[in-house]
């Protein structure tokens, strides 16, 4: 094999060094925090050198807390009792496992006074597409979610078996072609976390990552708005690029977008109607639904934008109109 990514060892070693020398604690929230019980402040600083992020003041640990039926007290994903008051389960371990497994079933909606945000996830070789059906937008490379609001995921795969996992938020779930699995998560604080595929699916497996960014409600609305303005249409050309093997950055570069930033988010708008279920059913996608005529690739808009950060809802650079655009590769 000769993957395009493993050509320049020197450059990558250099980059690797840069990372080692970063201050301790600069992990990007990939630790399965609730399990370890470590709740380190500063966890959610990222290493991409984005100043907006390193100064992120919000640094509380995250766990997907489920509000369980009252008799069970509070249970984090890892199965620690947080509240000792209702420990009558102690007597019967089997019963405890039984109730806990039900309470933490990823299919089970999270109790909340807010309606859940629907997100549809499609796994490709080797990247994820996040569809926001209500908002009519989609992203790749970065999943932006509002904090303190339950997210209801529907997941499928356009290719082989994969497993969708955001360690800091908990609960991985398999995604399979033609099938839909469900997952309910909630970030109880804003932050920035690594997301992965856990199920080996070929050469690019270890590159199949994304950043999850939990933001406040207003920032989320801004994100949606900006995506609607600046998004790249998810038309047939773009979709063919996505279907090819490669990671986010390959897609970005094939679409003529900047790929220098690993955390680049590729934004799509408009997107075909009911894209998710069409993919799941394996039926042909109805491209006519994209009312905007497909523009020349990478000529009119930029879709790589710095992502919204929590304290700065938008920065002038984030629009980055000045990027050199390459022609889409065939």
């Amino acid at each position: 094999m000769a993957s395009g990514h493993v050509t320049d060892i020197a450059v990558r070693l250099q980059r690797a060094h840069a990372r080692i020398h970063e201050p301790a604690g600069a992990d990007c929230g990939s630790t399965a925090a609730p399990f370890l019980g470590h709740r380190r402040a500063g966890d959610d600083r990222d290493h991409s050198g984005d100043p907006a992020n390193t100064s992120d003041p919000v640094a509380l640990p995250l766990s997907r807390r489920c509000r369980l039926p009252p008799e069970m007290g509070h249970v984090s994903l890892a199965g620690h009792h947080h509240v000792g008051s209702t420990d009558r389960d102690r007597g019967c371990h089997g019963g405890y496992i039984w109730r806990q497994t039900h309470a933490l079933d990823p299919y089970r909606p999270l109790p909340s006074d807010q309606p859940p945000l629907e997100i549809q996830v499609v796994g490709y070789d080797w990247k994820w597409l996040f569809i926001y059906p209500e908002q009519g937008i989609a992203t790749m490379g970065q999943l932006v979610i509002p904090a303190n609001r339950p997210i209801s995921f529907e997941l499928t795969s356009a290719t082989v078996l994969q497993s969708f996992f955001i360690p800091a938020l908990g609960s991985q779930i398999d995604v399979m072609n033609r099938m839909m699995t469900r997952l309910h998560l909630e970030a109880d604080h804003p932050g920035r976390f690594e997301g992965k595929n856990m199920q080996y699916n070929g050469e690019g497996f270890h590159r199949q990552r994304f950043i999850t960014r939990a933001v406040d409600a207003k920032t989320f609305d801004d994100f949606v708005e900006r995506t609607r303005q600046q998004g790249q249409p998810l038309d047939q050309n773009a979709y063919e690029v996505i279907m090819k093997k490669g990671d986010n950055r390959d897609v970005a570069s094939a679409l003529g977008l900047d790929k220098s930033d690993t955390d680049a988010v590729i934004r799509f708008f408009p997107i075909p109607d009911d894209l998710f279920h069409t993919i799941m059913a394996g039926s042909p996608i109805n491209w006519s639904a994209i009312d905007v005529p497909p523009p020349q690739l990478g000529t009119t808009r930029t879709s790589v934008v710095q992502t919204p950060s929590n304290d700065k809802s938008s920065s002038p650079e984030s629009l980055s109109p000045s990027h050199e655009r390459k022609e889409a590769q065939p």
Binding site: Y107, R178, M179
Partner: protein
């Protein structure tokens, strides 16, 4: 090698065993004809039909084991009866588990596969 002369006891035993094979064959025949006939010529409720087919099949299996394969509860054959029963246990666990798991999975993520 020519036919051996049977003594009286053997002749009796031989006839008995022959009868047992004929019995087995007749029973199996009946248990085959019933479900075929039901499917071909009647239209009783599907569930009843399936249950009948299942029961006939089960009984026929026992008939074969008893009359053709000579599996009995006789003391000296316990080991083999145990073997068969153990196999049945494993079969029930594996097949039952498979059906339980897969149909549950279908229901949760692939409703199209529910027959």
């Amino acid at each position: 090698m020519s036919a051996r002369q049977l003594d009286e006891h053997e002749a009796r035993e031989c006839r008995a065993e022959q009868r047992s094979y004929v019995w087995g064959f007749a029973l199996a025949l009946v248990l085959t004809l019933i479900p075929f006939a039901l499917v071909a010529f009647t239209d009783i409720k599907q569930m009843t039909l399936w249950i009948t087919i299942g029961i006939c099949a089960l009984v026929q299996v026992i008939v074969h084991l008893r009359f053709f394969m000579h599996i009995t509860f006789a003391k000296n054959k316990r080991e083999d009866l145990l073997l068969i029963l153990f196999t049945v246990l494993i079969l029930v666990i594996l097949c039952g588990g498979t059906l339980w798991i897969l149909f549950d999975l279908y229901q949760r993520m692939l409703p199209g596969m529910m027959p």
